[in-house]
């Protein structure tokens, strides 16, 4: 009998020995490849042409346009933007996050829950104001899709909308309390809509999302999406495209940067506290955003410490990014907020804490529901499968 089985472990690690070795070898090889590619990418970035030339190059290669970023301004792409000013007094920052309990057909009662949490943080030496709101959904129209199946992907969509709507509400509150300019409105994750809008519910949700951005615009808010450790390589794609269409070709230019991400490049390129120039994507989704007046620009920012870069992608609407003083305030806020938590903006961490629904919270809610039903003469219980699973989960 294997040792792990005697100890009662659930994961049979001894069976994964070869896979662990293969994975570690893959990571090592990838790391080596990335190191080589990084030197190339850094050189390309230092030699990058001016933004106008880059935009012309992207126009000349429309088949590559969707994957490559486009310079949003005339600021050179290889410029590192530093913000040394302190956050202006009375600046207001609102941040939200969301949490959920998914519908579980094995539970005693079918429902789902979305909780949003937020923090209104003002630079006025006073305690920030916490907010939280939970909604329990139990109507059939909430729980089942058009085919009568319990919802799955819809929950993430509804949570995204709940977060942005709540962010707009908090922006309004911040505007009533004071009239700072701007009101930085932060969300954890992308600001660019991430759904394809192929389904009716997605289209309706998108409309609500755009309305929330409009509300924030009217209330003097600067919505910004903060995504730590972003994936993708639109900037690298732009550099590669530029090299490919450049005046002279070398063997190096023909090399594809297969493993490098923008995150890797920016972790070397940006020093702590610096951000990149603004970029944008000419994707289908950004075009839809533009139709509503909310085309999204993005940049990269390093909110880490010397020797420990923490790279995030920052997204904000074009109308906000075009305001220079707003960008300076946003930059200063993020650097200062991230400093106390070593790279994670404090307001976002607190918003997450205020939104969080733990397993214990769920258990307490389930018990409260069952107790209330019992008081009314109804016995409800989980499925036998769920009960058996709960016996095993106590070990976690």
């Amino acid at each position: 009998m294997h040792t792990s089985a005697i100890m009662g472990d659930m994961l049979h690690l001894e069976q994964l020995k070869d896979s662990v070795e293969a994975l570690s070898q893959k990571v090592v090889k990838s790391h080596q490849q990335r190191t080589l590619e990084l030197e190339t990418a850094l050189r390309w970035l230092e030699e990058v042409p001016d933004s106008n030339t880059l935009r012309e190059q992207v126009k000349a290669a429309p088949d590559l346009a969707e994957s490559a970023a486009i310079p949003a301004t005339d600021v050179p792409l290889n410029q590192r933007i530093t913000q040394t000013n302190a956050v202006p007094k009375e600046t207001a920052v609102v941040a939200v996050d969301g949490s959920q309990i998914a519908p579980d057909r094995h539970a005693a009662v079918l429902y789902y829950l979305i909780q949003v949490g937020g923090l209104l943080f003002r630079y006025n030496s006073e305690a920030p104001l916490p907010f939280a709101k939970a909604n329990l959904y139990h109507e059939d129209t909430d729980l089942f899709d058009q085919e009568g199946l319990v919802i799955t992907w819809q929950l993430g969509l509804r949570r995204t909308v709940a977060e942005i709507v709540y962010l707009a509400e908090l922006t309004k509150i911040a505007h009533k309390v004071a009239h700072p300019s701007p009101i930085i409105a932060l969300t954890d994750g992308p600001l660019l809509w991430t759904y394809r809008n192929q389904r009716d519910e997605e289209k309706q949700a998108f409309a609500t999302y755009m309305e929330a951005l409009t509300t924030m615009q009217k209330e003097g808010g600067m919505p910004a999406g903060f995504t730590e450790r972003p994936g993708g390589n639109p900037l690298i794609s732009l550099l590669a495209l530029s090299k490919k269409l450049g005046p002279s070709k070398t063997a190096e230019q023909e090399r594809e940067l297969r493993t490098l991400t923008d995150h890797d490049l920016m972790a070397r390129f940006l020093k702590p506290g610096q951000r990149s120039a603004w970029l944008q994507r000419s994707s289908e989704m950004n075009t839809q955003h533009a139709h509503h007046g909310h085309r999204i620009w993005f940049c990269y920012i390093n909110v880490g410490e010397p020797g420990y870069p923490v790279i995030a992608r920052l997204e904000t609407p074009e109308w906000a990014a075009q305001q220079t003083t707003w960008c300076e305030t946003l930059h200063a806020v993020l650097v200062q907020q991230a400093e106390v938590l070593h790279g994670n903006p404090y307001v976002l961490a607190r918003a997450h804490e205020l939104a969080l629904v733990t397993n214990k919270d769920k258990a307490a809610l389930d018990i409260a529901l069952q107790q209330r039903l019992f008081e009314q003469g109804i016995e409800s219980h989980t499925s036998e499968k769920a009960r058996q699973k709960s016996y095993l989960s106590w070990q976690r």
């Binding site: 956050v87 030496s125 006073e126 305690a127 200062q336 607190r350 919270d361 409260a368 107790q371």
Partner: protein, 207 residues
Amino acid sequence: MDKTTNAITIGNVLRADIRSFVVASRIPEPEVPTFGTFVWVPIQQGHSKLIGLVYDIRLQDDPFLRHLAVSVDETNPQHQEFIADQRERAIPVEISVAAVGYCNEDELYRYGLPPQPPMILKQIFVCTPKEVKAITQQPDWIRLLLETRDVPTDALIARTLERSAGLYGNPGTKEREAYLIPALRYLARYMTREPLRLETILQQIKS
């Protein structure tokens, strides 16, 4: 009982029996109850109330605060908002309560084991001064504490007598004496075989 008194929202009842219970909650630091606070909780589907005394408060491990503590500097003017937020922030606490009695819908206090421990609760309530005076009018609330193990009984009795005596008057006043003397006589009767223990308790109470 006055339902508009200070209420502590409970996250989970961790352990409960008819002698004591422990709840976990997240409450702002200023609202964390103190040792010897009288509280009440609804039991029997709200038809009765369990009366108890807070005998232990444990601040649970708070990774967020631990992470922040390394970098926040109280003397740094740029950190004032973070510090202010942490002081108001709901912190995870475990509150242990020892039962001293209960009352039914007739609002008469009975000093003994309650009929039922608390179940999953929405809130426990801190008793008002008026309610504390009503509970401590008879010294019988002490008896159950003397029989309870795993509770710092002596310190709890001394602290509770001191605090409740304060509701009747300052040290040296007749009203305070009128309250304390019967309570101390009651205590003495139960501790005839433990004079040193009795003396320790008495020394903690200002007459």
